[in-house]
């Protein structure tokens, strides 16, 4: 278990000081696949480097299984990193790279050899063991970097956007591969990415970060279906934002009145705005349906139909102002031809909308 408590990192001094991490607190469970997700400059890599020991935080506490980490240099932390640039040692072979950590730990020769062989098999690089790292492809380098970091059996594996340099197909493969490795090894993975899809596919839990702060922590479904605030809703997936009046809340259920005058229920996270005010409600494009104008929650005019192969996007200008996008999966025989300019309605079930905190 990693306990991150009130970590703050400030670069520079005085007027030019820049706060990369602002009072960040997270608890990461053992064996968890935990992702730090956010746009570039949000502090996710800074946090990762702090855990690895390459950066000293200005304030805060960091403990692994109850033991303080901040007082130890990087080479005394049972934590290994997969670097974004892979950082393979160019003057060593693939096998020598993987053996490096074990040699530094002064493991017996026979054990080093056995572990290296095991790691080579694990990442399917056994035939390349004696190649220099410059002689293998990007995807292979990525796997060697992974094997090298896993070989000493760290308690925690830190991964700094390890897939960003790979092409689309290879990235998809490696995502599943990483997930499999995490299952097989039982090591805690802390994964840094700016790719929301990657985060949703692989993670047990995600921390969405922005401007050095944690905006929301939760499972992929939780984060996607119930974003707590506008930044999270906007950063992950596509979202429609609706202005609504919050009538009253009971627990997590909130009664809202939409701009069209229709009333429905939405989910409100605890600690959100109180009843009686204007709020923003987020609705995912695929959670809404397009219907006839009569009796729908939100009537409007169809402005654009965009065909995407797997699905079709309907852009609707609402009568109450604003634009709403509905995504409908394309099923054979179910194509409803709708003309641009036609009167249509938008419907979504009670409890689908999410009342945002801001």
């Amino acid at each position: 278990m990693i306990e991150i408590e009130g970590i703050t990192k400030t670069f520079g001094e005085g007027a030019s000081a820049f706060t990369a991490l602002d009072d960040v607190s997270i608890t990461i469970q053992s064996n968890e696949f935990f992702t730090l997700l956010g746009p570039s400059g949000c502090g996710k890599t800074t946090l990762l480097r702090t855990i690895a020991g390459f950066l000293d935080p200005t304030r805060g506490k960091l403990a692994l299984d109850g033991e303080d980490l901040l007082s130890r240099p990087p080479y005394q932390r049972p934590v290994n990193t997969v670097f974004q640039s892979y950082a393979l040692f160019p003057h060593m072979t693939v096998a020598e790279n993987i053996a490096f950590g074990l040699e530094m730990l002064k493991k017996p020769k026979a054990q080093i050899k056995a572990t290296v062989d095991e790691m080579l098999d694990l990442v399917q690089m056994a035939p390349m063991a004696d190649r220099k790292t410059a002689q293998i492809s990007g995807g292979q380098q990525q796997r060697v970097a992974l094997a090298r970091a896993l070989a000493p059996r760290p308690k925690v594996l830190l991964l700094d956007e390890p897939l960003s340099a790979l092409d689309f197909k290879l990235r998809k493969e490696m995502q599943l591969e990483l997930k499999r490795l995490q299952h097989e090894t039982g090591i805690t993975f802390v994964f840094v990415t700016h790719d929301q899809e990657e985060a949703l596919t692989m993670s047990d839990r995600i921390a969405v970060m922005n401007l050095g702060t944690i905006r929301q922590i939760g499972g992929p479904r939780d984060i996607y279906d119930h974003p707590a605030e506008r930044f999270v809703a906007d950063f992950i997936g596509d979202t429609n934002f609706l202005q609504a009046e919050l009538l009253d809340t009971t627990g997590e259920a909130a009664r809202i009145r939409l701009g069209s005058g229709a009333e429905t229920t939405a989910r409100a996270a605890p600690g959100g705005p109180g009843a009686g005010g204007q709020v923003t409600v987020a609705v995912r494009p695929e959670h809404a349906a397009i219907t006839g104008a009569g009796g729908a929650l939100l009537p409007g005019t169809l402005q654009e139909v965009v065909y995407f192969g797997t699905d079709t996007h309907y852009h609707v200008d609402l009568d109450c102002g604003g634009r709403f996008v509905v995504r409908v999966q394309n099923q054979p025989g179910h194509m409803q031809p709708r003309e641009v300019g036609a009167r249509v309605g938008i419907d979504f079930a009670a409890g689908i909308g999410q009342v945002l905190k801001d």
Binding site: A52, G53, F54, P73, P74, Y75, Q76, V79, N80, T81, F83, S85, A87, F89, P90, H91, F100, G101, M104, L105, R148, A149, P152
Partner: protein
Amino acid sequence: MSKGFDVRRQTGFNTIALTCFVLLYLPIILLVAYSFNAGDSIAIWEGFSWRWYVSAWENEQVQEATLRSVILACSSSLVATSAAVLAALATTRTKPWRGQTLVFAMVNQPLMVPEIVTAVALLIVFAAVKQATGYTGLLYLVLAHSAFCIPFAYMPVRARLQGMDLDLERAAADLYGSPVQVFRRITLPQLWPGILAGAMLAFVISLDDVVITEFVKSAGQDTLPTYMLGQIRRVITPEINAISTALLAISILMVITFFFLNRTRK
């Protein structure tokens, strides 16, 4: 090819380029050519011969001066390179500290201070030391040469350290390598081409030095360049050409060696 501005198509480009090359290389070509002169003159060609090479080879003063030059160049490049590696590490692998720029400037001081000034200063200091200690050995020259060779050794080492991916050292530390192990296993193997380049540069600079050597050397401590200077004051024979050509050949050989060393290591 683009039809934009191309310096090679400007009027007179070929003439200027050719003039530059002729001015640069013609004297050297003449020098090399006359080292094979059979006659006693450095200006009148009397046919091909190896006699001046043989004569230089058998000249005991040349032998002595050459040996002294090589010993001096070897030891001072060793001292200078060691100091340069430490200086380069201190100016690239530590957190920025107050006075870092000053140290950088001071390490490179021999490049900026006129050589004659350093020479006179060393002469005065060493004269006092010689009088106080009575020691008149080669150590003064080794010290002086080491000092002005440091920036030449420092520059390629520093460039190499700065060009190195810092993540490599981070990765090694992350994989339980202590600072000493990281230096030995990761930094040093990658630094070798830079260290070799620095050492070779320092070697050639030391081998070539006249001004400081002339001021610092004790009696009977001629190096090859100061011996040649002394000879030219008396009578000039193609033997000087032969020695110069040999020096030139050594320099070219070192450049080529270094080029290939650097290429295979990448």
